[in-house]
């Protein structure tokens, strides 16, 4: 860790660990309900568990992105954060808003709009909070003479993510219009600007972990995010097949969303190529494992499984079934959860000076959680495909089919136990890392204290810490 203010990332990462753990618990509540055991129904009905599960995910991923930005931006810009104290205030405000929303879900206080359930008054707090974050990051970049591609892509990704939250707040009486704008937030986040953030964080990690020349990595970063937007923006059309929008979206959405896997494939090939090319033996092997794992699993989950039901003729039958849950779980895990865990795995040793990545639990956390998530995805796939065939193709009654597929949720629960074991190991390691230490070269104010990061190999940074 080069700068005092990078410490604030620890607060965001700790928030991630807490919210992720809670998210897993709510996942179990839903899995048991699907398996026929909804004993908590009176206190935590399914819609509460569902809103909590998905919103905790969004919250901890955003916290992870913010933490990553607070870690990466000072490093890339070679200066302290503009306002370190504001970053802490912003973290606390973020957590308070999020916790209030989640508690509200348990008292029927929400906006029943998938993924955007946070009640309207809290939406405004989220906007203010994110603006503070953007201002802090933006001012740091602005004040720095060094504007690396990685930091610029990261900044604009975060800025665009903040702006794209706004269409979700447009009031309307028409369900179709409501849905239309909702996907501007949800789709253009996860299959658009979040991929900018992902590309930037991956680039940063690859530069640090592989030692490949920055210029090469950043050039390919542009190519990857170029493909992402080329396919992803019009790919939004795959949400506009069957919600009351014109028929041409079947064509537009079908063609462009079918191209989306290419961006993810490109990302995976790029990450593996860079790792191979670099040949640097960075001591933090687990961080590289998470980085490459993220690139690979995002291709499988978001790219391949997304493609599996994105074509209109397939989607006609899979739309609104558990097949979506299958794709959703591995896509979010591969693309974004693993990304945040990768930056945490990379940053923690530098922040705390401890080398927990050498312990057996570090590798165990990676493999167990990934095998667990793969098995969960398979369980969802079997349940989803069975549902599609029986309910959508053969016309069987909804509840009858749900009883038929209950058994697959026991499979899901078993797989989820494995996954949870991996996550527990990760959280355990996070706790073992302890609190961040002061940087080795204490800095004062916003003055750069080290030579530009580009010429500072990260191996040296690790050795120093």
């Amino acid at each position: 860790m080069k700068f005092q203010s990078q410490k604030v990332a620890w607060g965001f990462f700790a928030t991630c660990m807490l919210l992720l753990s809670l998210q897993v618990i709510y996942g179990f509540i839903m899995a048991f309900a699907h398996a026929g055991y909804d004993g908590l129904h009176q206190w935590i009905p399914f819609n509460t568990a569902r809103a909590t599960h998905t919103n905790l995910l969004v919250m901890w991923l955003l916290a992870g992105f913010m933490g990553a930005a607070y870690w990466i931006i000072p490093d890339e810009c070679d200066r302290e954060l503009a306002w370190p104290k504001l970053a802490w205030v912003q973290l606390i405000a973020f957590v308070v808003t999020g916790v209030t929303a989640v508690i509200g879900f348990h008292f029927n206080w929400w906006e029943g709009r998938k993924f955007l359930e946070i009640p309207r008054p809290l939406d405004f707090l989220v906007v203010i909070d994110v603006l503070l974050f953007i201002a802090n990051i933006g001012w740091t970049v602005w004040k720095s003479p060094k504007k690396s591609t990685t930091s610029m892509v990261l900044f604009f990704g975060l800025l665009a993510a903040a702006l794209l939250y706004l269409p979700g707040m447009i009031p309307t009486d028409n369900q179709t219009v409501d849905s239309y704008w909702r996907w501007w937030v949800v789709h253009l986040w996860v299959e658009g600007v979040w991929e900018l953030i992902m590309g930037a964080i991956l680039s940063y990690l690859l530069i640090k972990l592989t030692g490949v020349d920055r210029e090469i990595i950043e050039k390919w970063l542009y190519v990857i995010v170029g493909f992402t937007f080329l396919s992803g923006i019009l790919g939004t059309g795959h949400h506009y097949y069957y919600i009351g929008t014109p028929k041409y979206w079947l064509m537009v959405g079908g063609v462009f969303s079918a191209l989306e896997p290419l961006a993810f494939l490109g990302m995976a090939i790029y990450a593996f190529q860079m790792a191979k090319k670099g040949g640097r033996a960075h001591p933090n092997k687990v961080a590289l494992l998470w980085t490459l794992g993220c690139a690979f699993m995002s291709f499988v989950g978001a790219g391949f499984l997304g493609f599996a039901h994105t074509l209109p003729s397939v989607n006609m039958y899979t739309h609104g079934t558990l097949v979506t849950a299958m794709h959703g779980h591995m896509a979010f895990w591969g693309a974004y959860a693993m990304l945040v865990l990768a930056i945490i795995a990379y940053a923690m040793p530098l922040m705390t000076g401890r080398k927990v990545y050498e312990k057996a639990t570090a590798g165990f956390a990676f493999w167990t959680s990934n095998v667990g998530m793969t098995a969960m995805t398979l369980a969802f796939a079997v349940a989803g495909v069975t549902q599609v065939v029986l309910e959508r193709r053969a016309g069987m009654d909804f509840l009858t089919v749900q009883k038929e597929i209950e058994v697959h949720f026991w499979g899901l629960i078993l797989a989820a136990c494995l996954f949870t074991l991996g996550i527990t190991a990760f959280v355990f390691d996070f706790i073992r890392y302890g609190l961040p230490k002061a940087p080795l070269q204490p800095s004062s104010g916003g003055e750069p204290v080290e030579p530009p990061a580009a010429v500072l190999p990260s191996a040296v940074a690790v050795a120093r810490s």
Partner: protein, 234 residues
């Protein structure tokens, strides 16, 4: 070999181009939405119904237009499938209408809220969804030729209410017993007493007293009595 500035140009150019196309299509979509969604029929009741739908996060279990969660039935065509009588009864007391099944929270809706929700579903069922949800293509599992079910004489209330829990000819729910051959097993007088109030006939029955008027009961008794065929051997 591709240079960094060329890569940057590819990114910026591609993004600008697709964004422009996306915005134009969005503009065109908004021109078409009023007609496609029958926006003229968006009465105040429908609008209030949408709020009830959102305020209680119905999407947290159900899907509408295929969007939401996968824990409870898709509701786009629910008005056509179940009709207002069933919907009203269910929204009043969900547990009574699906005894012993996956639970729905009782939101204690007022009569006006229920009216609004039903109006909302009636509206959403008529939106042009490009053919979604598709009709089952593998054919209903058992349109048994042996079962003389004349669609013409089948009362609407039978399809909307009875089939929710019971099956006839392999179509319907599995909450209650099958109705194939029910006319052979039970006589008309019993059926009439049963339909008027199941609990007075069999106090431990899980079947609720349904909101049926006298005409509907008569129609149902006639129809059920006509189901003489023995259940098809499975």
């Amino acid at each position: 070999m591709l240079s960094k500035s060329a890569a940057k140009a590819f990114f910026l150019g591609g993004t600008a181009l697709t964004s422009a196309v996306f915005l134009s299509l969005t503009w065109d979509t908004f021109q078409q939405i009023p007609a496609r969604t029958n926006a003229a029929a968006l009465t105040d009741s429908v609008k209030r119904g949408k709020h009830v739908w959102e305020d209680n996060n119905c999407m947290g279990c159900h899907t509408l237009f295929g969007e939401g969660a996968y824990y409870a039935p898709e509701l786009t065509k629910v008005y056509e499938r179940r009709g207002p009588v069933f919907m009203r009864a269910l929204l009043k007391d969900p547990a009574a209408m699906y005894p012993g099944q996956r639970q729905m929270t009782n939101y204690h809706f007022t009569d006006e809220q229920i009216t609004d929700l039903i109006a909302f579903f009636e509206w959403s069922g008529k939106v042009d969804l490009n053919g979604f949800p598709a009709k089952p293509t593998l054919g209903a599992p058992a349109q048994h030729e042996a079962t003389p079910v004349s669609v013409a004489e089948r009362p609407l209330v039978f399809s909307q209410l009875c089939l929710t829990c019971h099956a006839l000819g392999g179509v319907g729910g599995t909450v209650g017993p099958k109705l194939d051959g029910v006319g052979t097993r039970l006589d008309a007088a019993y059926l009439e007493r049963w339909l008027n109030d199941p609990l007075s006939v069999k106090p431990d029955s899980k079947m609720p007293k349904l909101p049926l008027d006298a005409t509907q009961v008569t129609e149902l008794v006639t129809f059920l009595s006509a189901q003489k065929t023995q259940e098809v051997a499975q």
